[in-house]
């Protein structure tokens, strides 16, 4: 029965009892309305209710027992089991109870007697227990409570006699004593060692949890003792004999600490790594005070489901919301205010990674043994690189800050993230030379000169809300001032600190400040460590990145090439630092327009990352993205869209729909839709993105601006020209003030706006802006750069409609020459220039030239973009028009027909459909089929007129043409005959 059916049965049974017996059958028949299953079940219950085979339940006030029986039931305490005299019940759980007992012989000692619930068959169980007991007796380790004996009472209750431990659960002990994270880790390592010992004796615990790890003090020092080792297996074997576990699907063990494979197999398929998982869960709770997954009171199937599917959040992430609980958690770990922030920062990175590695759902990805786990923790405690951390964490931490910068400006979380990133990167870089003194000095500086300020900023944050960005910046600037002269005899410390400060400034987008720190750090590194030291090279590479961000590409290229060559030699081609430099250099190549070189570098990097880090690693994804960007610039749209979709799919799955990286991927996909001509999809994705980014990151954030710009591109492509102009203009305004008036991205915005002016017919404004842009672009970027070409194109496009054909033609010829040198013949930009060229000749009345360019563009676009692309379609119309203008109707007609068919089928409301109609009409008129021509021209002209808003100003030329043709056909019909000459003498 389904739950719904059972509920219905309950309802009807309840109701039918309130009816007199005589009416019940009738009531039921009516209420069940032909549902026999339900009726039969209610009848069955009614029958049982009338029979009442047992008397117990008749009274609702509970069963009555003879007092003698009750006395027996309540008095097991007087008994003894073998040589054990039961003293006091000290615990109870699902499987039984624990008694404090005295062993009388052969030695007198106090033991904990675990008494398994009554009701088990004794015969085989005892035999199996004897075997188990032999195994348990082999364990001898200070962290493991000894099992002395196991057996069964004559009532068939199984028992274990164990060393009696007075202690409190490890989590509680640590909280009570406000133990710091390192102290907790030290204690935990001892636990791992105990478990390792048992594993070497082939004993798996299977139920490790805080209440099975008791801590007591020996000589004033906490000592953990693990109890119940091997008990779970013994019990489950005994129980399974009875088939209870199998029958009920129940689970032995404690869900929140149980490994997925243990839950999934009912304990059948476990090895020592199940204990590694449980240790991970205990570690998690020791660190953040909550369990990895909350699984209490869930049905077994749901538990299995969650254990297998649900992602385990990073421990540090559990503290991100600074509520009452998390600050209590942090204070229990001896953290100073703002406690939860301090703790979160302590956990982020290494400890997150260690914990999550122990908690991997796939056991082959966990630590292979408790001692491996312990060893990684000890590496952390010694400030050595830990195995669990993917090699490029520092890079990712810095990335993280950059990504979240906007979102975090509004919250004091910013300071936390900033510090975490800073400390992670410092630790990483310092560990490389393992100078404990340096580490301490740097930590000290960060603590006193940076963190303390940040915490002040945090506290003031609630009052002085509006500009935390400034607060943090001020904190950094002050700290930077304090470096001066403070580390006179310690160049290494100073270099490390300047490195950190430089990276932090870089993350904040404060490039000149970043450069200043990094240059000094580089200089210090060179002097103390030498030019080829990995740290020197890392700083050099960072400086290259700063140069890239500042748009100083030749300098960036120089630094990065030099760093990369040395890193390949010193560290090898697969080292994270090498990969990081490779990626940055590829970005520079891409910035410089050297796409094939960028593509080669990125493909190489991607191969290495897929192999070393896995196909879904964050850095691998990052490289996929960069490669897709390069494909995009190269005009390889199919590859672009495929890569972007792959990345987006993985990120949505792994990071969630609102994660900044997921958003970045949406951004990219929107662009891919845009260039693929899928404008509606592009606009939907794009406007959603702009909305999110504006509210999350603010309007001045570079990501927000990029998304806005992309959305404007889509508006432009859709023919929503006024909207496009408004948005472009807003983006430009912000970029000018936030970046600089001559920043490459500002230049791109100027180009976009000039193009938008052209499209709304503001030709003189377009001309002014385009010539200004061209001047800057030539000077700042270089005369043969794509953006420079775009400026030239915009300028030429503004000349044409103003009748300045000479200037336009001169520009076009220059562009053609440059494009021939720097772009392939089928690059969309090249084709777009040539298309503009064709249109200009058309306007000028140079139809043969117009035809030749339009034909060239059409061939290129059909090949590069495919036949159904809007740009391809536009080229068909251009070519058809050139033919019509020369009276070559036979050549024009198939083109016009084909375009018309396409739009009627795919996008009947598009103005280009009506343009195709007028072109076909013009052909009919040329063939003197006046009636047909007239109706086509009229419908086409009116259709275009109704959609005038969607037609870019330069394209309204077609509207004028259509009007002319229509007028002429009307005239021809009036004085019929004598029209062929007119048709042939098309004039602009």
């Amino acid at each position: 029965m389904t739950p719904e059916e059972r509920a219905r049965v309950a309802e009807l049974f309840d109701a039918v009892l309130d009816h007199p017996e005589a009416e019940r059958a009738e009531f039921l028949a009516a209420a069940c309305a032909g549902n026999e299953l339900i009726r039969a079940e209610v009848l069955r219950l009614l029958q049982a209710e009338q029979d009442r085979p047992h008397k117990f339940l008749n009274s609702s006030s509970g069963p009555a027992f003879p007092t003698a029986a009750l006395e027996a039931a309540f008095s097991p305490v007087d008994g003894s089991i073998g040589p054990y005299r039961l003293l006091q019940r000290i615990g109870s759980g699902g499987m039984g109870e624990v008694w404090l007992a005295d062993q009388t012989e052969p030695v007198h000692r106090r033991v904990a007697l675990k008494l398994i619930k009554a009701g088990m068959d004794t015969g085989d169980a005892v035999t199996r227990f004897q075997a188990e007991r032999q195994a348990l007796a082999l364990m001898d380790h200070p962290s493991i409570a000894k099992v002395f004996d196991a057996g069964s009472t004559s009532q068939g209750r199984l028992y274990f006699a164990m060393e009696y431990i007075t202690g409190v659960p490890i989590t509680k002990y640590c909280d009570l004593h406000k133990m710091t994270v390192p102290e907790r880790l030290e204690l935990f390592v001892q636990v791992c060692e105990g478990v390792q010992h048992a594993h070497q004796k082939a004993i798996i615990h299977r139920d490790l949890k805080p209440s099975n790890i008791l801590v007591s003090e020996v000589d004033g020092k906490p000592v953990p003792r693990i109890i119940d080792f091997g008990i779970a297996k013994a019990i489950s074997q005994a129980l399974d004999r009875e088939g209870e576990l199998t029958r009920t699907g129940a689970m032995l063990g404690t869900p929140s600490y149980m490994s997925p494979e243990q839950a999934g197999s009912g304990g059948a398929d476990v090895d020592t790594r199940t204990d590694v998982y449980s240790l991970g869960a205990v570690l998690y709770e020791l660190l953040v005070g909550v369990r990895p997954l909350e699984l209490h009171n869930l049905p077994p199937d749901e538990i299995r489901q969650r254990l297998e599917k649900m992602d385990t959040p990073k421990p540090s992430a559990r503290l991100r919301a600074p509520d009452e609980n998390s600050s209590k958690t942090a204070q229990d770990r001896g953290c100073d205010p703002p406690a939860s922030a301090t703790l979160s920062h302590q956990l982020r990175g290494d400890l997150d990674a260690i914990t999550l590695k122990a908690l991997e759902k796939d056991r082959s990805r966990r630590y292979g043994s408790p001692s491996d786990l312990a060893a990684d923790i000890q590496r952390y405690l010694r400030n050595e690189p830990v195995l669990a951390v993917a090699p490029s964490i520092a890079y990712r931490a810095r990335k993280f800050v950059r990504r979240y910068r906007g979102a975090l400006l509004t919250a004091f979380g910013f300071a936390v993230v900033l510090m975490v990133a800073a400390v992670v990167s410092v630790r990483q870089s310092i560990r490389a030379n393992r100078e404990a003194a340096t580490t301490r000095a740097v930590d000290d500086f960060l603590q006193h000169d940076l963190l303390s300020q940040a915490s002040l900023a945090t506290q003031a944050g609630s009052k002085a809300k509006p500009d935390p960005h400034l607060e943090v910046r001020t904190a950094l600037d002050r700290a930077a001032e304090r470096i001066e002269g403070k580390f006179a005899g310690q160049p290494e410390v100073e270099a490390s600190i300047r490195d950190t400060m430089g990276q932090t400034y870089l993350d904040l987008g404060l490039y000149p400040e970043a450069r200043k720190q990094l240059e000094q750090a580089l200089d210090l590194h060179r002097r103390t460590l030498g030019a080829k030291n990995p740290r020197t090279l890392e700083t050099m590479s960072l400086l290259g990145r700063v140069a890239e961000f500042q748009g100083k590409y030749p300098e960036a290229e120089g630094l990065l090439t030099q760093a990369l060559a040395a890193q390949r030699r010193v560290l090898g081609p697969e080292h994270p630092d090498t990969l990081s430099s490779t990626t940055t250099l590829a970005n520079v190549y891409s910035d410089e327009g050297r796409y094939p070189q960028a593509e080669v570098l990125l493909s190489e990097t991607l191969d290495v990352q897929r192999r070393m880090l896995g196909p879904e690693n964050a850095d691998t994804l990052h490289s996929m993205n960069n490669l897709a960007n390069v494909y995009y610039y190269e005009g390889k749209y199919a590859q672009t869209e495929a890569l972007y979709s792959q990345v987006l799919e993985i990120r949505r799955r792994k990071l969630g729909p609102d994660h900044p990286d997921t958003l970045a991927s949406m951004d990219n996909l929107a662009v891919a839709y845009w260039v693929g001509g899928e404008y509606a999809k592009a606009e939907a994705v794009g406007s959603q993105l702009v909305e999110i980014r504006r509210s999350m990151q603010g309007v001045e954030n570079p990501d927000t601006l990029r998304s806005m710009n992309n959305l404007a591109n889509v508006y432009d492509a859709e023919g929503k020209y006024p909207q496009a102009e408004a948005l472009y203009s807003r983006v430009l305004e912000i970029r000018r003030s936030v970046l600089s008036p001559e920043h490459p991205e500002t230049i791109r915005s100027m180009n976009n706006l000039a193009n938008a002016y052209n499209n709304v017919g503001k030709y003189s404004q377009a001309e002014a802006l385009a010539s200004q842009t061209l001047e800057i672009s030539r000077r700042v970027l270089g005369p043969e750069r794509l953006d420079t070409l775009a400026s030239m194109d915009n300028l030429a496009d503004s000349y044409g409609p103003q009748g300045k054909y000479t200037q336009a033609e001169a520009l076009f010829l220059q562009m053609q020459a440059i494009a021939g040198r720097v772009l392939s013949t089928e690059n969309p930009l090249t084709l777009s220039f040539l298309s503009d060229f064709a249109r200009m000749y058309q306007r000028q009345g140079k139809y043969a030239l117009a035809e030749s360019y339009a034909a060239q563009v059409l061939t290129g676009r059909r090949h590069a973009l495919g036949p159904g692309n809007p740009d391809t379609m536009a080229s068909e119309a251009d070519l058809a028009l050139a033919y019509v203008s020369q009276g070559n109707f036979a050549a024009a007609e198939p083109l016009a027909r084909q375009t018309l068919d396409f739009y009627q089928k795919n996008d009947p409301g598009n103005w280009q459909r009506f343009r195709a109609e007028t072109l076909l009409g013009a052909c009919r008129a040329g063939e003197k089929k006046h009636t047909e021509a007239e109706s086509l021209l009229r419908e086409g002209y009116e259709g275009m007129l109704a959609r005038k808003d969607r037609i870019a100003a330069p394209d309204r030329y077609y509207l004028d043409r259509a009007r002319d043709w229509l007028a002429r056909v009307n005239r021809s019909q009036n004085h019929s005959g004598n029209t062929s000459a007119e048709n042939r003498s098309e004039t602009p």
Binding site: R52, H54, S75, R89
Partner: protein, 203 residues
């Protein structure tokens, strides 16, 4: 030897908030109280008298839980724990009896002869066996209708009224009445062996 009432108040409060460890400590504490109380009560009775176990639960509550300090959720929690314990104690005893009856030597749970106890109470071996059957049937029921199991446990073993049960479970008294009626009939059906295992085994 009165128990430290402050401790039970604290544990009740924490268990009410979902603290499992507190719940487990509470079990131990209440178990001890029940046992002591039973010992004291039972000493005053004659061996052939009968006593309703639910009285023990109520008595334990009144005696060990400081009324003014405990919110009703605490009271509900106490009864939930006590009902479960009462069920465990009785069923455990029944099982031990059963095993002993099979001939094994009685060691820690001396089985009193209670054959002369009045009828209508689980005096004979058969009745104790039925208690085990009832427990098994209740477990089966709980797998598909966990709330019905709770209702039976609290009303039957804990002696709570319908209204009190409703309050403790956070449902309406009407729901409790329906659960109780349906559960009881289901259990009858199961115990009479006439069950087609439709309701108990379910889907």
């Amino acid at each position: 030897m009165e128990p430290p009432t402050g401790e039970i108040t604290r544990l009740l409060a924490e268990a009410t908030r979902g603290n499992r460890e507190a719940e487990s400590q509470l079990m131990t504490l209440v178990y001890g109280h029940l046992r002591k109380l039973a010992a004291r009560q039972l000493r005053r009775e004659r061996p052939d008298h009968t006593l309703q176990t639910t009285d023990l639960v109520h008595e334990a509550y009144l005696r060990f839980v400081p009324q003014q300090e405990v919110a009703w959720q605490g009271r509900a929690h106490f009864y939930r724990v006590a009902s479960r314990l009462m069920r465990e104690i009785l069923v455990d005893y029944a099982r031990a009896r059963q095993t002993g009856k099979r001939g094994a030597e009685v060691e820690i749970l001396p089985v009193d002869e209670v054959g002369d106890a009045p009828p209508r109470t689980p005096s004979g071996a058969g009745e104790w066996d039925h208690l085990i059957d009832l427990d098994n049937a209740l477990k089966s029921l709980g797998r598909i209708e966990p709330r019905q199991e709770k209702v039976v446990e609290m009303r039957f073993f804990g002696g709570l009224t319908g209204d009190e049960t409703a309050e403790a479970l956070g449902v309406t008294p009407r729901t409790v009445r329906r659960d109780w009626r349906v559960a009881r009939a289901s259990l009858y059906a199961e115990l009479s062996g006439r069950s087609q295992r439709v309701s108990a085994m379910g889907d």
